[in-house]
Amino acid sequence: MIIRFFMLFRRLLSLSVLLVVYLGVVAPVGLVLGLVRADPLQRHFEPERTSYWEDREPDVDLGPSAHPEWWTFGLARDKLWLLPVVAVLLSVGMMVAVTEGSVWLAFLYPLF
């Protein structure tokens, strides 16, 4: 009974943290980006075009030694501006992931 209560409590906590991050970071950044740039998902028909095929970036074998870590990755794909958003998301996401794995760590949440 107590365990079940903790499970529910923990789930609610993680959901509310995720909701705060979503409303605090994802939604505003997304809404602003929606105003200033083209839709990355191209959610509209373009009747004047004869084709939607796009030229494809060639497959580069990064090789076993090249670590496609965040910095190189963002740089190569012209997506450096995405990194701060991703950093915030990941740190909170990780915290949620960690707490979902342990009942007691859930008590850390009220601290922030």
Binding site: G30, G34, L41, T50, Y52, D59
Partner: protein, 533 residues
């Protein structure tokens, strides 16, 4: 050099091992874990590959996808759909932050637990599919087309392969996906996404494509070269809700069908309609490849390439001259493709039996006598198949001439929906007299018209998904079919996978015996013996 390819963490995880440019082993995790479409790290499958190859280490591991690129797509999707995508965000974010974003570390940890410490690299999802389609094909030069739900950003790619070179230079991008469109209809018709697509394809033959115009007018903007965009207002997958949106249900006149509820003519018509649109898109994409690269041979892979009906029409309608489809066209085949992107070697898939080896002894006479008596036979011999089809190594066999047989096999073992047809296996040299096929179909990847009466394996539209059996690829099954032919005058057997509904195909003799005892299979042929209950 030993190269291990891995696919995992989405659906159908698998492993494939290439040694000095030659395929030596490949297996799917679900066969060992007994969880259908198991997506966990394929530890057992890797173990089975190493054991079959007789090695304990590999030189390089290649993962079939670029996880960071995929995560970028997720973040972009969340940003683009804000503030409506919380459900999707809340479901994906914890998993991705825990293990997927740092997949290199996760994979290295899992590999280390198996004693494999080696270099690890990543290749793109569609390049894996393309490599799995081109390198095993019999063509020196061929157009390569991959179509699936989504891999990283891409949903379809087009390119050309020559010798050991493979270049993909055109693509369609998420969320405009033929695979997701087909899956949306799968879910709308009450079947499970990534599992029930076969059922929808089987259902299509029972309906008329009365909704095809509606789909083309409202759901897709299809160009002459096969490229298209989806009207996202009618779909829910971007925000993590159901595949289809309320406006989709409104458009097609009603709510989604409840799973396991009654199937009406309307559902058959919906299936026939999406099937027709799918065939049209695939044919136009293939034609664009033929035009662009000036080549009339085609290699296909990606989940949509498992649509054997669409494949059959490509050749029948003269879009291409020859077609080769990767038998494990779905994500399992990505493991093989990943290894091939590094080895870049031309290989042969043979009979598709790349899993753990077992005895090839079969009491042929006993099996033929049982089949003549109208019994349902479970056949277990040789190495396990790689890919979703049973090809005569882990198969249930029966007499295809008996009109009652489809219902008998269904009732006794498969317990599946009556509208789904069973497939025939035919001696390669007799295939032309019994089926209208262009070329051979050793891995059951294409559909052809049935020319002689075979009621148990003929679908309502007069076609069947044929497997042609050659002595080179599967000598034991070939010998069995030859003896059956001599005894019955018919070179065809009903061949369906050795499993119960909802479970993966059997892998070990123990699985086979358990399946035999718990179902209505009359006879089990295993280890040179014929067992009866």
């Amino acid at each position: 050099m030993k190269i291990l390819g891995i696919s995992a963490y989405y659906h159908d995880s698998a492993a494939a091992l290439i040694d000095d440019g030659v395929l030596v082993a490949a297996a799917q995790e679900e066969r060992f874990s007994r969880v259908k479409h198991d997506a966990r790290f394929p530890a057992s499958a890797i173990g089975a590959c190493l054991e079959r190859a007789g090695v304990t280490s590999v030189d390089r591991v290649v993962y079939y996808e670029r996880p960071l690129l995929k995560f970028e797509r997720l973040v972009e999707t969340w940003l683009a759909t804000a503030p409506y995508g919380f459900r999707h965000f809340a479901a994906a974010m914890p998993v991705w932050s825990r293990e997927r974003v740092f997949l290199r570390r996760t994979l290295q940890r899992e590999l280390a637990a198996l004693g494999l410490a080696c270099e690890l690299s990543f290749c793109s999802h569609h390049h894996s599919h393309a490599a799995s389609a081109f390198y095993p094909s019999p063509f020196e030069r061929a157009v390569v087309l991959t179509i699936d739900g989504v891999g990283e950003w891409e949903t379809a790619t087009l390119g050309v392969g020559q010798g050991t070179e493979l270049t993909l230079d055109r693509s369609l991008r998420f969320p405009h996906s033929l695979g997701l469109l087909y899956s949306a209809f799968t879910q709308y018709c009450g079947f499970r996404v990534n599992n029930g697509e076969y059922k929808l394809m089987g259902l299509a033959a029972h309906g008329e494509p009365v909704f095809a115009e509606l789909i083309r007018d409202h759901l897709v903007d299809l160009k002459a070269d096969g490229s298209f965009r989806l009207c996202l207002d009618h779909f829910g997958f971007l925000t993590g809700k159901a595949m289809v949106s309320p406006s989709f249900c409104e458009l097609f006149g009603g709510p989604a069908r409840e799973p396991e509820s009654e199937i009406t003519q309307r559902h058959c018509d919906l299936a026939a309609s999406i099937q027709q649109v799918t065939e049209l898109v695939v044919a136009r994409m293939a034609a664009e490849g033929v035009r662009r690269y000036g080549c009339r041979d085609l290699c296909l892979a990606g989940g949509v390439a498992l649509n054997a009906v669409a494949n059959g029409k490509l050749v029948a309608q003269g879009v291409v001259d020859r077609l080769w489809v990767q038998p494990a066209a779905g994500d399992a085949g990505g493991a093989l493709g990943a290894a091939l992107t590094v080895s870049r070697s031309r290989i042969s898939m043979g009979g598709g039996d790349w899993g753990p080896r077992q005895s090839t002894e079969v009491d042929l006479e006993g099996v033929v006598q049982a089949l003549l008596a109208g019994e349902v036979v479970g056949l277990f011999q040789g190495a396990m198949e790689f890919g979703p089809r049973a090809l005569g190594f882990r198969s249930i066999l029966a007499d295809p001439r008996d009109p009652e047989m489809q219902e008998r096999v269904n009732r006794a073992v498969k317990k599946r929906e009556g509208f789904r047809p069973f497939a025939p296996a035919v001696l390669e040299e007799h295939a032309a007299q019994w089926f209208e096929l262009s070329g051979t179909s050793p891995h059951m990847t294409t559909v052809g018209r049935v020319l002689k009466p075979l009621p148990a394996v003929t679908h309502v539209d007069g076609t069947a998904r044929v497997q042609t059996v050659s002595e080179r690829d599967n000598p034991v099954f070939y010998a069995l079919l030859t003896r059956w032919h001599a005894a019955s005058g018919c070179p065809v057997l009903l061949n369906t996978s050795f499993n119960v509904r909802g479970q993966p195909i059997v892998a070990t003799p123990e699985h086979a015996e358990a399946c035999f005892r718990s179902t209505g299979i009359d006879v089990l042929a295993i280890h040179g013996r014929v067992l009866r209950l």
